[in-house]
């Protein structure tokens, strides 16, 4: 287990190093000069040159990268070109929005999909099953941003039950939670639609296996069969998909935060790329990459918890 954890940690570090090098390279190849973005089209060439000097953009690429890595190892992720603030300050400001949003969406997605998928499988071939299949098909077809707009129109404009966007901050916990309900739902429902279909087919696959029939034959109740034999075995493919979907949810925040005007990491990344704000992009992409790597790690752990036979995989 220790070896496994060490290997995983090494993977994380190597992934982040690779990602940081790629981001640095891409941001430099991409046309666009932060100084020009900041000073605009009426600025003089002298002012642009002065700002490039101030921002340290004239040093060679490799030097800048190594300087950045060196500082990042000590926890200094640089100063944002466009905001003129430490990158860590900007990221920490936004984390309390995106983290709860992504977690709530993940939870909502899992609960909704497992509940509905199981329900559909248990009513296989009957109207309940058809209804859920049709709804999930619709859910897959709807882009999250459009669902977000529909939710705003219904719950914020027509019913006036929830705010249409913005975030009051966690000083007002109730208002903050209310502000996150619609975005979490918009983010979760589309992913839940996909997962529902996976849960249903996975459960149906397991139900056709011999040991399920045997369990039924030896007189176990229907619910006990589902609880003890069907669900644990059906969970392996489900967990795999959930791991992939967490990555989708994390990247989905970029779009959803824009629709709901939330001050989160996704919106910050969007602005950082537009402004060619290298260090800020770097830190945010690394954070998103780490989230995906860690999600995959948790999936591996979950495999073993669900199916002890897989423990060999960890050695």
């Amino acid at each position: 287990m220790t070896a496994f954890l060490l290997r995983r940690f090494a993977t994380l570090v190597l992934t982040l190093l690779a990602v940081s090098a790629v981001v640095f390279a891409i941001m430099n190849v991409l046309p666009g000069d932060p100084a020009l973005v900041i000073l605009g089209i009426d600025s003089t060439p002298e002012a642009q040159a002065a700002l490039r000097e101030q921002l340290g953009l004239n040093a060679p690429l490799a030097t800048r990268y190594l300087d950045w890595i060196g500082a990042a190892l000590t926890g200094d992720f640089g100063i944002s070109y466009s905001y003129d603030l430490p990158v860590s300050t900007l990221v920490l400001e936004r984390l309390p929005v995106t983290l709860p949003l992504a977690l709530a969406a993940t939870l909502l997605m899992a609960v909704a999909a497992i509940g509905l998928g199981l329900f559909a499988a248990m009513r296989h071939g009957r109207p309940g099953d058809w209804g859920i299949m049709v709804l999930s098909q619709v859910g897959i077809a709807i882009p999250a941003f459009w669902l977000g707009i529909l939710l705003i129109i219904l719950f914020a404009v027509t019913l006036r039950a929830l705010p249409p966007g913005g975030f009051p901050g966690w000083d007002e916990p109730l208002a903050a939670i209310r502000a996150l309900i619609l975005p979490a739902a918009a983010l979760a429902l589309v992913q839940a639609a996909i997962l529902t279909r996976i849960v249903r087919s996975s459960v149906l696959d397991v139900m056709r296996l011999d040991y399920v029939r045997t369990a039924r034959a030896k007189g176990l109740s229907r619910n006990a069969v589902y609880r003890r034999h069907v669900l644990p075995n059906a969970l392996i493919p489900i967990i795999t998909i959930v791991g992939l979907q967490v990555a989708n949810l994390v990247t989905g925040t970029i779009v959803i935060e824009n629709v709901f005007s939330l001050p989160g990491l996704g919106r910050l990344l969007f602005q950082a790329i537009a402004n060619r704000d290298l260090f800020l992009v770097q830190a945010l992409v690394l954070l998103f990459a780490a989230a995906v790597v860690i999600a995959n790690f948790l999936v591996d752990i979950a495999y073993v918890v669900i199916d002890p036979r897989l423990e060999g995989r960890l050695e």
Partner: protein
């Protein structure tokens, strides 16, 4: 105090409290904006949202500009101009303090101008300061600015946010903690969500009716902007990004829709430095091929005034030149054929602005009728500003020039992205720039407009409208914008 006195006083006090509470309840306004500033120092970053929020609200300049474009006193109470038009003597307003309590005097003005003119200055509009020779502060209330040559636009230019007066002690931290002398103080900023200003009760023009708290909410998505207004989460959206939604607000009795003009001339910019646009026949063909009314209708739902030159229609020196190249597909075809460029591939690079993306396809089809093969490439802003603007790596693009008095763009030489270089126009601009007689200036500005139209330097499209949606009880906002800033201290709840 007798008993009845006591009752009377109590009632009076109660009424006062009640009215104060009532005033308090109405004393805040939430304004929606699509673009969020990155920093709050207008002397360090060109982002238009910075000027909108800070200029003449948090900061003040020596002069200011009214909604109609007239130059008015601000931190300078009055001024005199020398006979030769080169020396400006400003008499500063008295009793002005910065928001941190420190006093404002001529040393702050001198510091501001010297800082913007310095070699390592990163002021985004450094060219405003280039005509200045020296700045002197002979006493605490007087500033003397000497120019190298007379400058017709000097008083207008120094009203802009780029010339905001800052104090030496706080200049470096204004990006995140702006300290100015203006009618509003910076209160708080949750980046990505909202920014709050509070009325500066010490300001010389402060009145009890001034709205106490102004909150800017940053809503990037047009659909979200509509929803926020409909849900009454936002009281005003002065720059609505989606013209197609205005009908809905016009029909709703809760709102006032205000349609005004801006300084933004939207042009189909042609790279004059390279073929086929170094040929005036092609440029004229394009102007004949454009159907401006159809573009405005299709791209902006009919909002916006067609232009035939590079000048705002609301300006007193405007000449209507839209008739110079009437929409005539046959003539356009003939000119294209004559120049021998029919069917040659031309790229139209479109930045992210709605006016550009929305107009692009309509223009593509109009030019196709004239025999031009236009391919559209959507590019993001950082790409546009580097490749199109700096490297002149483009054939055609669509862009709005939002600066006032910007006819000088045609005199910016071959390195400027127009790729247009004409000594005759350079001379003309030199005469415009240094003309101090209003009547002669008017005639010269008209000549300048005719010149660029005759040369058909670009396809001139339409004037960018200012589309605002406001709570019907709100008044005191600017319907039109001759500048980037928008004063808040005239806003009132009826």
């Amino acid at each position: 105090m007798t008993r009845s006195d006591f009752v009377a006083t109590s009632i009076a006090a109660f009424c006062l409290l009640a009215s104060a509470a009532g005033a308090q309840a109405q004393s805040s306004v939430t304004i929606g904006m699509q673009q969020e500033p990155t920093v709050l120092d207008p002397t360090a970053d060109a982002t238009a949202a910075i000027d909108t929020i800070t200029a003449h609200n948090i900061f003040e300049s020596l002069t200011t500009v009214s909604e109609s474009g007239e130059v008015l006193p601000a931190l300078a109470d009055s001024w005199t101009v020398s006979e030769d038009g080169k020396t400006y003597t400003f008499d500063l307003a008295e009793g002005v303090t910065f928001h941190d309590g420190s006093a404002f005097d001529s040393a702050d003005v001198k510091f501001t101008f010297d800082r913007a003119m310095a070699e390592d200055s990163v002021n985004p509009s450094k060219k405003i300061f280039q005509p200045i020779d020296s700045v002197a502060a002979p006493d605490a209330d007087t500033v003397v600015i000497t120019l190298k040559d007379p400058d017709a636009f000097f008083l207008f230019n120094i009203a802009q946010g780029d010339a905001s007066i800052v104090a030496p002690e706080t200049a470096a931290s204004n990006k995140t903690e702006p300290v100015g002398t203006g009618p509003y103080k910076f209160d708080s900023w949750t980046r990505g969500d909202r920014l709050t200003l509070k009325a500066n009760t010490d300001h010389r023009d402060h009145a009890p009716e001034v709205i106490d708290t102004v909150t800017f909410r940053f809503v990037a998505d047009p659909a979200a902007a509509v929803a926020a207004l409909m849900a009454e989460d936002i009281d005003a959206f002065p720059g609505m990004p989606a013209p197609e939604t205005l009908e809905q607000f016009k029909a709703d009795p809760r709102f006032t829709v205000a349609v005004g003009t801006t300084e933004g001339e939207i042009i189909l910019a042609l790279n004059n430095a390279k073929p086929p646009f170094n040929d005036i026949r092609v440029r004229r063909a394009i102007n004949h091929a454009l159907d401006r009314d159809a573009i405005i209708e299709g791209a902006y739902f009919g909002y916006g005034e067609p232009i035939g030159s590079f000048f705002p229609p609301h300006h007193k020196s405007y000449v209507d030149l839209t008739g110079r190249y009437p929409h005539d597909v046959e003539k356009a075809r003939a000119l294209v054929a004559e120049a021998g460029v029919a069917g040659e591939p031309i790229t139209l690079r479109l930045p992210h602005f709605p006016y550009a993306r929305r107009s692009g396809e309509i223009i593509q089809s109009q030019l196709a009728k004239a025999g031009l093969d236009v391919k559209i490439e959507n590019v993001e802003w950082a790409f546009w500003i580097d490749e199109v603007y700096r490297n002149l790596n483009y054939d055609m693009t669509i862009i709005a020039h939002t600066s006032p008095n910007d006819l000088n763009n045609f005199a910016r030489g071959p390195e400027y992205f127009y790729g247009y270089d004409n000594p005759e126009f350079n001379d003309l601009w030199e005469r415009i720039r240094t003309e101090s007689d209003p009547e002669k200036l008017d005639a010269l500005l008209k000549e300048g407009q005719r010149f660029v139209t005759e040369e058909a330097v670009h396809g001139f499209l339409f004037q960018l409208p200012k589309l605002g949606v406001y709570d019907k009880d709100l008044s005191g906002y600017w319907t039109s914008s001759p500048v980037l800033f928008a004063p808040l201290n005239q806003l009132r709840w009826n």
